[in-house]
């Protein structure tokens, strides 16, 4: 009986670190859990703890970043990613979160922003009115910043960056700048992206009306040559900031090169918010 009790104790002790990670890690099936453990023993958090992730998680005072990274590792492992993919991905996350050089500079327009003015995180997104990915990501970010888990933590700024190969990208961007001038930027952006597959330059007037703008005023204002200059300046700024695709995000001035999935972004932005406190 005694050897059996000892064996049981050792087995429970061995299982303890795995069970005390994050709910996502605890839910992993056995082969995936083994891979996650292997990664925990190889990966070092880029901040808050000098040991491996495994040691950081076992420390008496666990740092929040170690938990976040462990959860991120388990997310990727659960999605079937292999060890080298996860390691490369974590490098990208580190590059996005650590100050590695000069921060990007922007001529931000408050009319194209949302979220708490005193939020600790400034998120700048260069986006094209005709980019399918932007049409999914921007409304998600808007919802999170205005009523979701990022409320009070993030101020979101939109920077128009028309992609030349997208037909209608300039007209769409001019429509967005016009909406900003008329004080209806976000409702119009949501309308524009909500009707992504029905896009037509003339239909924009109807969408402007649908979100409460005077259609005639909108149609007249969007043809002003000065707006084109504003758009050119935004595009030039993007090129100076090394924008190579849309959407491109900057978190407190740092180029964000990690995953653009909204759940990952929520985690990364929450991490940045905690760091700024």
């Amino acid at each position: 009986m005694r050897p059996f009790a000892l064996a049981l104790t050792f087995a429970l002790l061995a299982a303890l670190p795995a069970a005390a990670q994050t709910p996502r890690c605890d839910a992993l099936a056995e082969p995936q859990r083994a891979l996650a453990q292997e990664l925990f023993k190889a990966v070092h958090p880029y901040d808050c703890c000098d040991e491996t992730l495994d040691a950081c998680l076992k420390a008496e005072e666990r740092c929040r970043l170690a938990e976040r990274l462990a959860d991120d590792v388990c997310r990727m492992v659960k999605a079937g990613k292999d060890r080298s993919f996860v390691e490369r991905a974590l490098d990208k996350r580190a590059q996005s979160m650590i100050d590695l050089g000069a921060r990007a500079s922007f001529a931000l327009d408050d009319a194209m922003s949302t979220g708490a003015p005193d939020a600790p995180v400034q998120l700048v997104v260069y986006a094209c009115a005709r980019c399918p990915f932007c049409s999914v990501l921007l409304p998600q970010l808007y919802r999170e910043v205005t009523e979701g888990s990022l409320k009070g933590k993030v101020r979101l700024y939109f920077r128009p960056y028309p992609i030349k190969s997208h037909p209608g990208s300039t007209e769409g961007a001019l429509g967005l700048i016009t909406a900003a001038r008329l004080g209806k930027f976000w409702p119009f952006l949501l309308e524009l992206y909500g009707n992504f597959d029905q896009f037509d330059c003339q239909k924009m007037v109807g969408w402007a009306k649908a979100v409460g703008m005077d259609p005639e005023a909108f149609d007249k204002a969007r043809q002003e040559p000065a707006l084109r200059e504003v758009l050119v300046e935004s595009k030039k700024e993007g090129l100076r900031n090394k924008v190579a695709a849309t959407p491109t995000l900057y978190v407190n001035g740092r180029l964000y090169s990690y995953e653009l999935d909204i759940e990952v972004l929520k985690d990364v932005l929450a991490e940045e918010s905690e760091k700024q406190k």
Binding site: P162, L231, L239, A244, A245
Partner: protein, 167 residues
């Protein structure tokens, strides 16, 4: 009619062989997939594929050319000035032709065709020399259309003009 066709021994043999090949390949594929260490790729995809990817801007990269490079004066080099028409009229490189770069609108197809038809061994583009440099941006756009040996002149028109004044 199909049944009648199957009575033809050649057609019958062809169909039989095709069925055998398809069944054999499918069996081999399933067996190979089953041997994968992760348990194999699911035969039926339950989750939606993540098809969304960022939209790339013009991705071609171009090398710089110094304003002193002798190739700028070579016979088979096509020199393009990317600046506005007024700036081009005020001063331009001796052999340059004007093709204004627009940050918003794509390069007209006709201009691309003219460059392709020019028979030039090299295309050197200069712009305003600012940041971002219109010359570099136009050179990238031309290169992205499949035209080879496209360069931009470092420092743009101001650097070229300074050099021509110095001479």
């Amino acid at each position: 009619m199909p049944m009648k066709l199957l009575e033809n021994p050649t057609v019958k043999a062809t169909v039989r062989d095709a069925v055998l090949i398809v069944v054999g390949c499918a069996a081999f594929g399933l067996a190979f997939n089953g041997l994968r260490p992760s348990g194999g790729i699911p035969v039926v995809q339950r989750e939606e594929y993540d098809l969304l990817v960022p939209c790339p801007d013009i991705s071609a990269e171009v090398d710089p050319l110094e304003p002193t490079d002798p190739r700028l004066g070579a016979e088979r080099t096509l020199v393009i000035d990317a600046r506005e028409a007024e700036a081009f009229a005020a001063w331009h490189h001796a052999s340059a032709r004007n093709a204004v770069y627009d940050f918003l609108d794509p390069l007209p197809e006709e201009t691309v065709r003219e460059i392709a038809r020019s028979g030039a061994a090299m295309v050197a583009v200069y712009g305003d020399g600012a940041d971002p440099d219109t010359g570099r941006e136009l050179a990238k756009e031309i290169a992205s259309k499949g035209i080879r040996n496209v360069y931009f002149v470092r420092g743009g028109a101001p650097a070229l003009r300074e050099r021509s004044t110095a001479r």
